[in-house]
Symmetry: C2
Subunit: 309 residues, 2 copies
């Protein structure tokens, strides 16, 4: 028997929610299949797809395997052998939660294979434990949206106090993924350790207003509030052409635009699919003007999150 699950990509931070907000998109995503193996423990029998050659097969270092191992320990089923195959259908290091998607797909598949019956929220800690191997931190800002779907606030990572926010019908996302590399480690290291009070007050207000905008389906408010004055200015320099890409988005009807996760992907929000497609082309052109190839992803908010396939 083989069980296969799909876990979607996600936009961490969503600009104004550094480390605490995440948004699930429809595609791309990773798939992981799980089946019973004779030997106890978790093995990675194969990794195929994008960048698969760079990912570790060692079960101690592979996000999917570590996540499933944590689940087995929780269930007291370390006697069981599980074999995973990972189908990478999204780029690593893109700022779209690639390692989170692998960890999430793995625990969803294993939960089904084992007939463990855990809810998605129950599975979250194990997905985070897996993702931690790749990111170095126990964070749910990609795992929670990938698993649960929607737009998710993480009030507290330690207790995984996570909350789905109301999503207005029709909210559209355009992600432009430039073919350059930004290491999350670098993107973290450049951040100043302190935030000036006025920026803290302003960013707090924008985050709260963004949440209100989502609940009230107030698109102009969502747009005004998506204005990151703390992280984006510090990280923009890591993405050549970022300002031109953002200007292209805003000039072409985006509600707002910022960096997805630690970058280099850039996302913009829209209230119209056609406008999103046109703006996406303009954003891609702005990267091209810098000599950078990029890929466009158009999506609604994925309200389902991870699913069995």
């Amino acid at each position: 028997m083989e069980v296969r699950a799909f876990a979607p990509a996600s936009i961490g931070n969503v600009g104004i929610g550094f480390d605490i907000l995440g948004l699930c998109i429809e595609r791309p995503g990773d798939e992981v299949s799980a089946r019973f193996a004779a030997q106890a423990g978790v093995q990675v029998s194969g990794i195929s797809g994008q960048n698969s050659e760079n990912l570790p097969r060692d079960p101690q270092k592979n996000t999917a395997a570590v996540a499933v191992q944590a689940l087995l320990e929780h269930l007291g089923r370390t006697d069981v052998g599980i074999d995973l195959h990972i189908y990478k259908k999204m780029p690593s290091g893109s700022g779209l939660g690639s390692s989170a998607a692998s960890a999430v797909a793995a625990v969803v598949a294993a939960n089904e294979l084992l007939q463990a019956g855990l809810s998605k929220k129950d599975l979250l800690p194990f997905a985070c434990a897996g993702e931690q191997i790749a990111s170095g931190g126990f964070h749910a800002d990609n795992t929670a949206p990938s698993l649960l779907g929607g737009i998710v606030l993480i009030r507290d990572n330690a207790t995984l106090d996570v909350h789905r926010v109301h999503v207005p019908r029709g909210l559209q996302i355009c992600v432009v993924h430039p073919k350059i590399e930004v290491l999350t480690k670098t993107a973290r290291a450049i951040l100043k350790p302190e935030v000036p009070m006025p920026q803290y007050v302003r960013q707090s207000a924008n985050l709260a207003a963004f949440i209100i905008g989502l609940y009230n389906s107030d698109y102009p408010l969502i747009g005004r509030s998506l204005d990151d004055g703390i992280i984006e200015p510090q990280r923009a320099g890591l993405i050549p052409g970022f300002h031109a890409v953002k200007q292209a988005a805003l000039k072409n009807g985006a509600l707002g635009c910022s960096i997805s996760g630690a970058g280099p992907s850039v996302f913009a929000l829209f209230n119209d699919e056609t406008i999103a497609a046109d703006a996406g082309a303009a954003m891609q052109q702005a990267f091209a003007d810098e000599g950078i190839d990029s890929e466009i992803i158009l999506s609604g908010v994925n309200l389902d999150g991870a699913v069995l396939v």
Copy 2:
């Protein structure tokens, strides 16, 4: 002809929303009456009630008069003479937005007297202009809730981009006002100019979760989120017995507890009126143990804001 308006007290900051969140309570509040005068311009013919002897009658320095003057200038009616009488029914320097209440009541009364027909939102800039005389800053975190009612987020003070948040039915407030003085100027001056990143992330998450808790009527979440790790620790020392008062609130069923505005009043939120009353008594006792007299205010959230009387 005389027109009289009532504007209620308000809780600025609400703990986790420094400078951007305000909550309107039912009472106390200030009343201001306005009538036409022969001489052009705004005069303050009388101030009666609590602390009235300390408040300036000079129309250039009085919050209510400055607010009405700003309204007259906006309307192009500086030829008109208006005489104000201010009935202070709440203490100044309590952290309950006393000067904001006077300014709000004054513009609401003058708007009616002049039959100007401005909406409450239209009146907000003039109330803020009046309040600025007392506080030194153009802030809406007391004027907006006092005027509009409810719980209000101020996304931006410069453009007065203010938004009422959904308020769960049954949310109860207890304010304990100790008879000590904390100058807003002092309470501002002691704040460090920078916020460490982890505290910024944590406080942002709590503010966003507090908003979500309000929209979802999720009282436990409202409680967990009302946890100010930035301002409260810096200001607690200005209020003798604060920690004991807060403990008394939490031990007696408060969802959360923090400092109202710049203090010295302490507020706590509840989902039950009886529990609020019992906890209020315990909070008062904690102040008494420090040798400090205090006054208890029990209230629901005032959804009406300022009204004509």
